[in-house]
């Protein structure tokens, strides 16, 4: 199989993931970001180390493309996760993951939420936390792969994941807690 066919196959295989991540990063410009990222990735594909996973590699490219776009735009977009990274935040480590205890999901299990409600609650997470939760819980990437994609230490990834998951559980137990939520139920606009 030639390089071009291999690239096409991989993109088709992971297209949902690529589109989903583009949506996390760029929302309404997701398709533009996706196309620009594919063009850049295709240019770099000959140098792609085939012993590595494709998704973390192309996710990293996509994130860098988005950073470039934001730099060019010089626009502070509050919903963009990339713009929030200067926030001070607790950092965990594998030896000392976190000082507190995660919320038990017992109430959520009792409420018998649907998978789609959980998915919707993830969409309501703050962008910085949503990005990590999506990469771990939906894409199934490892802490180290996520750390590479977001150019942050593993401890930061763990910390954001912890905060994101706990906030997600809060949303599921108390949907009113979600930003923009006026009552129990979920929004249907996707974001």
């Amino acid at each position: 199989m030639d390089s071009r066919s291999e690239f096409q196959d991989l993109v088709h295989q992971y297209l949902d993931s690529l589109y989903n991540y583009a949506h996390v990063l760029a929302r309404r410009d997701a398709e533009d970001l996706l196309q620009e990222s594919l063009a850049r990735a295709y240019g770099g594909f000959p140098a792609f180390d085939r012993s590595q996973s494709f998704r973390p590699w192309i996710f990293t490219i996509m994130r860098n493309v988005q950073i470039d776009r934001l730099r060019r735009r010089r626009l502070q977009a509050p919903e963009q996760p990339l713009e929030h990274e200067k926030e001070a935040e607790p950092v965990a480590s594998l030896d000392n993951p976190l000082c507190s205890i995660p919320l038990a999901p017992e109430d959520i299990l009792l409420r018998r939420e649907t998978v789609e409600q959980v998915r919707e609650a993830i969409r309501h997470l703050p962008p910085l936390l949503r990005e990590i939760v999506e990469l771990r819980d939906i894409e199934g990437l490892s802490y180290r792969e996520i750390a590479t994609i977001v150019s942050r230490p593993v401890g930061t990834v763990m910390s954001r994941l912890y905060r994101g998951r706990n906030l997600l559980r809060t949303y599921l137990v108390e949907p009113r807690e979600r930003p923009g939520e006026k009552g129990i139920g979920v929004r249907n606009d996707g974001l």
Partner: protein, 274 residues
Amino acid sequence: MMDCSTAKSKLFPYVDGELTPEARGEIEAHVARCGACRRLLDLEVAFREAYVDRLRPDPAPEPVRERVTALLGELGQGRRGARRQRRFTRSVVGGVGAALLIVVGLGAGMALQSHLGTRTTLAELADAAVEQHQKLVRDLLPPDIKDVPPKAAEEWFKKRLAFNVNLPDLKTERLRFLGGRISHLREVEVAALEYEVDGNNVSLFIIPEDAYRKLRLKDKPRFKVVSHRGYDVVIWRSQGAGYTIVSEIGDRACLMCHAPDEKLEPLPRPSAHL
């Protein structure tokens, strides 16, 4: 021996499979003798199995799939096309290039073809502009701003783009401003504007001057005109920015910036059918 607080704090990494075998062993030893932590772990696993493990990325819409498939095809062909184009240009320049250019007689615009790099960048810009124009017309790239006068749109862009964005006044009723958005030509951020001239869609892209200069286009002719994929593309520089118009109406697109009764120098003939 691990205490409950430490065990609970490592619950997520444990379930995520991120702990070393040694650390995993410590957790498992702890939960084997601690009912409270065992219950917490069971709940976490149940939560994963009920929800998290069943989460999937949002599917890409079918139109996006189709466009990505088309893009992937173009990426490959673009490279081959570029190689063909370079081979063709080399043969022209290396062989009967100069004589051929004179015979064809495309005048000033042909000077562009004598410079391989210029032609390539011009071709790339035209290609990107046509692609964006098609997306704008088909509403695949929705406007960020619409139903406003050009001056209001100009202010909107000036707040968001770090270069001089000047929108032309509407000098005739035959011209209508439809809307605009921040878009990209290749990797350059531009103001993309949609107009209608006599019922025909026309796109105007305003490009940062530094990006325009990187094209290394010569000053003359002032207006570079190319025909690409059936569209007329006019490229020029003015007031600290580069401009690119894409239309299917040739000279009539000049109504974007000039009144109908204004006497204009004729545009050069298209320098190339790219």
